[in-house]
């Protein structure tokens, strides 16, 4: 069985505020939400910056005494469900949660969370009063992208009629200090793909997408292909030649029944680290056999939201297909990667917007690619 997988709902909570409109409008304006941290200020780190959700949004998210990450996931999910008019409320619905660290408040002596993705998924299922099966995916920084592939498989394969994919992570001292210890934090705002890039800025948030077989619920965009591969070379550094990510792109396009020439835009992973951005550009140049369609990343605006990134970036890509306009790359002044990777400096109308590619990578050598079509 291989049924079409339609996008039916979108929800977001980011450092730009609550709701996908705030997120997409900020992306369109070229703004950055990376600023001096207001929480976790006592930490002495290489960078004092992060993209935190606004305090008033965090307060709403924590309503009822739940953890911030659960609250962010709930807000994003509710927005996506509202847009999809409750299409996931049947018994053949699935909740697919993506996160890297879930709620680790217990490890930080600030609560009881043990970092279990399953616990977070089951708590969310209960909060949303959804029937159906929950799944919890944790695949490093590719978690959100992998969760969309997982959900696509469920819907396309007939195991579920609809899937609510929710991806969420919240900033913590644990994660900030970990990335700081690896010397991966840029002391300034991260500038993915720029010649002067010096690392990443961390962010937090949640994204949600409803995927369904119901064509009548479609927002006019389908998830048509996905593929995941592994570098099988190093646990934290990507393969410099990008071969595994290029394989993922080729396989996702083949499964979508399309080719490189049909791709009109790319949503990039673009963390801002020297190695990641160079490898990603090499991979895309390899996959496209030269110059690529215009690519944009959002981590210069949103920070790296870790497990949430893949879904938030897919929401941006869905908007590109619906509006026919690509976003720019915040923080980019001069490309410092393979020039075959076409990077937009600012928002620009596309000559055509029928198919788009999302790529992601993560620790453990993980690479993933998704193909969306109108």
């Amino acid at each position: 069985m291989n049924r079409a997988v339609h996008v039916a709902g979108r929800g977001a909570v980011t450092a730009f505020g609550r709701g996908r409109a705030a997120f997409l409008e900020a992306l369109a304006s070229g703004a950055s939400a990376i600023r001096r941290r207001e929480r976790l200020t006592a930490l002495d780190l290489r960078s004092a910056l992060a993209a935190e959700v606004p305090a008033e949004v965090a307060e709403v998210a924590r309503g009822g005494g739940i953890s911030l990450v659960l609250g962010l996931a709930k807000l994003a999910a509710e927005e996506a469900l509202a847009e999809s008019h409750g299409k996931t409320r049947g018994v053949r619905a699935a909740l697919v949660l993506a996160t890297t660290k879930a709620d680790i408040s217990g490890l930080e002596r600030d609560g009881s969370g043990t970092g279990s993705p399953a616990e977070l998924a089951l708590q969310l299922l209960e909060l949303l009063r959804l029937r159906g099966r929950a799944y919890a995916v944790s695949c490093a920084c590719a978690s959100g992208t992998s969760a969309l592939a997982f959900a696509g498989r469920l819907v396309a394969g007939g195991q579920a009629d609809t899937a609510l994919v929710v991806a969420a992570d919240a900033l913590s001292a644990f994660v900030l200090r970990g990335f700081d210890a690896l010397l991966l934090l840029d002391p300034e705002r991260s500038r993915p793909f720029d010649r002067s890039r010096a690392g990443l800025s961390l962010g937090e948030g949640a994204g949600a997408l409803v995927l369904t077989r119901e064509e009548r619920a479609s927002l006019g965009v389908r998830l048509c292909g996905w593929a995941e591969t592994n570098d099988a070379s190093h646990l934290t550094a990507p393969r410099a030649d990008g071969a595994a990510l290029a394989r993922a792109v080729a396989a996702a396009l083949a499964r979508a029944g399309t080719g490189c020439a049909d791709v009109d835009a790319i949503s990039l992973h673009g963390t801002g680290t020297a190695a990641n951005d160079a490898a990603e550009a090499a991979a895309l140049a390899l996959a496209f056999g030269g110059s690529t369609p215009p690519g944009f990343g959002v981590k210069g605006a949103l920070g790296h939201t870790l497990g949430a990134a893949g879904v938030l970036e897919s929401i941006a890509l869905v908007e590109v297909l619906r509006s026919g306009t690509s976003f720019g790359n915040v923080g980019l002044t001069e490309s410092g990667v393979d020039p075959n990777l076409t990077l937009a400096l600012a928002r620009a109308a596309l000559p055509r917007a029928r198919a788009a590619l999302k790529v992601a990578s993560g620790f453990g050598g993980i690479d993933a690619a998704l193909v969306f079509r109108t």
């Binding site: 043990t114 919890a136 997982f150 993980i366």
Partner: protein, 196 residues
């Protein structure tokens, strides 16, 4: 399951013994014995390079050990390895490593930077992929159906990869090997190599 599948190999780590289709059963004293902390021993058993093993966390060592014990890596040609997926259902995930990393954040301690990447449950699967050159999808799942055996949950995720042609072989891993205050499914780690 609509198509016949082949079981290529299997292995297990139990509290008192370990074994697999590649090796004879061996006795061990489980995590308390902590042979997983001895990379030299693991190296002698399963030809893992000791220096390589030393860089891994305990979970990654256990998974590499169990994957080697299936004998699967020796059965796969280069093309098959490139399309071999790893899927795991784990209740503990990286929790034992999370605890160790969190301890290193205490005042007067030195941050264990080398442990941080292993505080993601998928990194241990990446270690298996890197060790054996497996280039297919890696999927780490946390079990959300307590009443359902972990094996069933992992096969439910693994089999569609084979049926849809997203992988030619899947290393399906169920369970955990390390005791923690949270308990969980017990000290049982099983690894299966399945193919269409």
């Amino acid at each position: 399951m609509s198509a016949p599948l082949k079981l290529l190999g299997a292995a297990y780590l139990l509290p008192d013994r370990m074994g697999g289709s590649r090796c004879r059963e061996r006795e061990w004293d489980g995590p308390a014995d902590d042979r997983l902390a001895d990379p030299e021993l693991i190296g002698r058993w399963f030809a893992l390079d000791a220096a390589e093993a030393r860089r891994l966390d305990r979970t990654s060592r256990a998974l590499c050990l169990a994957a080697a014990a299936t004998g699967l890596p020796g059965l796969l040609g280069e093309a098959e390895r490139l399309e071999t997926a790893i899927v795991r259902v784990t209740a503990l995930g990286s929790y034992p490593t999370d605890l160790a990393f969190a301890e290193s954040l205490e005042p007067e301690s030195t941050v264990a930077a080398g442990l941080f990447p292993f505080t993601l449950p998928s990194t241990a699967l990446g270690a298996v992929a890197a060790r054996f050159g497996l280039g297919g999808p890696i999927i780490s799942l946390s079990p959300t159906a307590p009443e359902e055996p972990l094996e069933r949950q992992v096969f439910a995720a693994a089999v569609p990869l084979l049926l849809r042609g997203e992988a030619r072989v899947v290393v399906a891993i169920a369970g955990d090997f390390d005791g923690t205050p949270r308990g969980g499914p017990g000290l049982t780690l099983t690894v299966y190599g399945i193919a269409r």
